[in-house]
Symmetry: C2
Subunit: 348 residues, 2 copies
């Protein structure tokens, strides 16, 4: 249960009363969860809150409502360990992060916002083991809502901006296994259709004619080739889809990326190649949590702790390197990729 330890360790999940807005995205491989961890200053009145906000640089002209300050936390679990996950929710009383039906105040029924196929598959299990009802939100809607949320607060990266990343494409050696255009044309490219000598003609193409066994290849060369093959493929399909709708910026998300610089670079290079420089690859931070974030945002229409939450604000420190309208956010992340965003929830 390494993953469970990861989440419980930094904050110890105590006191549970500081947790609210728990939202789940239960996929085939991973359960992604997002929750709000409120600061201890909960309960300030409006004047105190406004004064505090100003002191930390939050600009908020609408001050007629109670405000909760805290952080959005992101964590992930393996779906195959669903029973461990349920046990964890039970032990840590995470169900307090759900909500009760405001139309039936006497009811004890607790609802938690959830999306992904597992919200359907495991609905009975949650009810049976924890007495929790999963309040299902559509997966695609959540994905879009989550992406819009991150875009709105400027949590995106355009890799053509980070020269350092481009250098990474020269590391490793996928040429040991990939067949390049130059390997076929004898050092020259096939200029007529825009293929340089270094363009990959066939991923793993050299393996066919090599008289070698699997163990004769370095794992890092195989991995590099595989990553480039997948990235090129993703880049091509995404570009062709973008073309259908006349889009020039393509946003990538999902745990495949996980903030890996080389992955982002190869996808960027692929989009550049297929689009002949017309389209650009963009990446979102917390890119694996879009669905969970979307489910989280759906709490905006729910009564929670006596607050009808209708707006969630982010407090993001603007770094010295930001320019123009771009905002570079400082990111808090533990070594296992569990991250957080500082934010404010404003209620009616």
């Amino acid at each position: 249960m390494d993953l469970l330890a990861d989440v419980s360790n930094p904050q110890n999940f105590e006191p549970q009363s500081q947790i609210s807005h728990l939202a789940l995205d239960i996929g085939g491989s991973l359960i992604k969860l997002v929750y709000f961890w409120r600061n201890n200053d909960r309960g300030r009145d409006d004047d105190e809150q406004r004064s505090h906000n100003e002191s930390v640089g939050v600009s908020d002209s609408d001050t007629g409502q109670p405000v909760l300050e805290g952080r959005l936390h992101f964590a992930k679990f393996e779906t195959s360990k669903i029973n461990d996950f349920l046990e964890f929710i039970h032990c840590k009383k995470l169900c307090l992060g759900g909500f009760r039906d405001c139309t039936a105040p006497s009811s004890d029924k607790i609802f938690i916002k959830a999306t992904g196929g597992g919200a359907y598959k495991f609905a009975d299990l949650f009810k049976e083991k924890l007495g929790i009802t999963l309040d299902k939100e559509d997966e695609m809607d959540c994905l879009v809502t989550g992406a819009n949320f991150l875009l709105k607060v400027g949590y995106c990266i355009n890799v053509c901006c980070f020269d350092g990343l481009l250098e990474l494409s020269h590391q490793g050696n996928n040429r040991v296994v990939d067949m390049l255009v130059g390997d076929i044309y004898g050092g020259t490219g096939y200029g007529k259709i825009g293929l340089s000598a270094t363009t990959i003609a066939s991923s793993f193409g050299k393996v066919i004619s090599d008289d070698k066994e699997l163990e004769d290849y370095k794992p890092e060369d195989i991995s590099r080739s595989l990553l480039r093959m997948i990235s090129n493929n993703i880049g091509q399909i995404s570009y062709l889809n973008a073309l259908r709708f006349g889009l020039k910026r393509i946003f990538f998300a999902g745990f495949f990326i996980q903030g890996h610089a080389y992955t982002m670079d190869t996808i960027s290079v692929a989009v550049h190649f297929w689009s002949k420089g017309e389209a650009k690859a963009m990446f979102l931070r917390h890119e694996g949590f879009l669905g969970a974030l979307g489910a989280f945002m759906s709490y905006e229409n729910q009564s929670l702790d006596g607050l009808m939450v209708h707006k969630i604000l982010q407090r993001f420190p603007i770094s010295a390197s930001s320019a123009g309208n771009k905002i570079s956010c400082s990111l808090n992340s533990d070594p296992n990729g569990n991250e957080s965003i500082e934010c404010t929830v404003r209620g009616t």
Copy 2:
């Protein structure tokens, strides 16, 4: 040298004088060659030829020209064994299948039509070892010419026509390794976006959470999953490209297909899925030889054996199962996939 034996065995390549129009497509993995093997009735006069043509059912109203009858042969070699291939050409005097420069009749220089990157990469090697000059033709042009040639003579297959092939998609068990939509949603599909419970959500997706080693999986299940992944991918990319140009029929070629029914079926299913039934996958017989065929067709503008060849006719027996304008050709193939088409070359 298995491949060399394959070619030399059925015909023994004797007498060499029966071979003409040798054309090569030298790729990164394979050398594809197409050549014309003339029948022994070479030298007939026009009246004899017309009479013979009528007796075998060839319809040819233009009889003012000498005619060569014979078969187009297709064969392949591994590019990595290029030196064996050169030795074979030398021993079998295949260079007689080339042509001499008609503008310099006294010259001994022999030209052979060739395309593919290897026509550039190995040009010096052919000259040095065999004294042959490769007359290079553009790879893409040859591909299109070869495809048009096969289309013109009705050498294509539409898999939605062959019910028997569809049954194959139910064989094997890629579900052991693939994660289906039903695995995520718990037996139900995700109807809102048209995904049934049996749609593959993630190729090899189950492998991530299985606590197994590679040897715990059956090779046939792994292969089936890999084939479906690649076929689905090819289907999607081809459909997206067809969409750009408003095309409804997509023709597939290349040695990946090699006439395998299951491959053609999975590509067809993929095109049907991505296009929502709007587009159709079509397949060409001899699909791996388009480039070589295109190079072969470029002989039409060359003097050969005193004939200025300008038209190549095919003699294709119309099978009982053909209907409408479709012509089903009987195909001659040895167990190694080396094939032939009966045809006629008409010269000026």
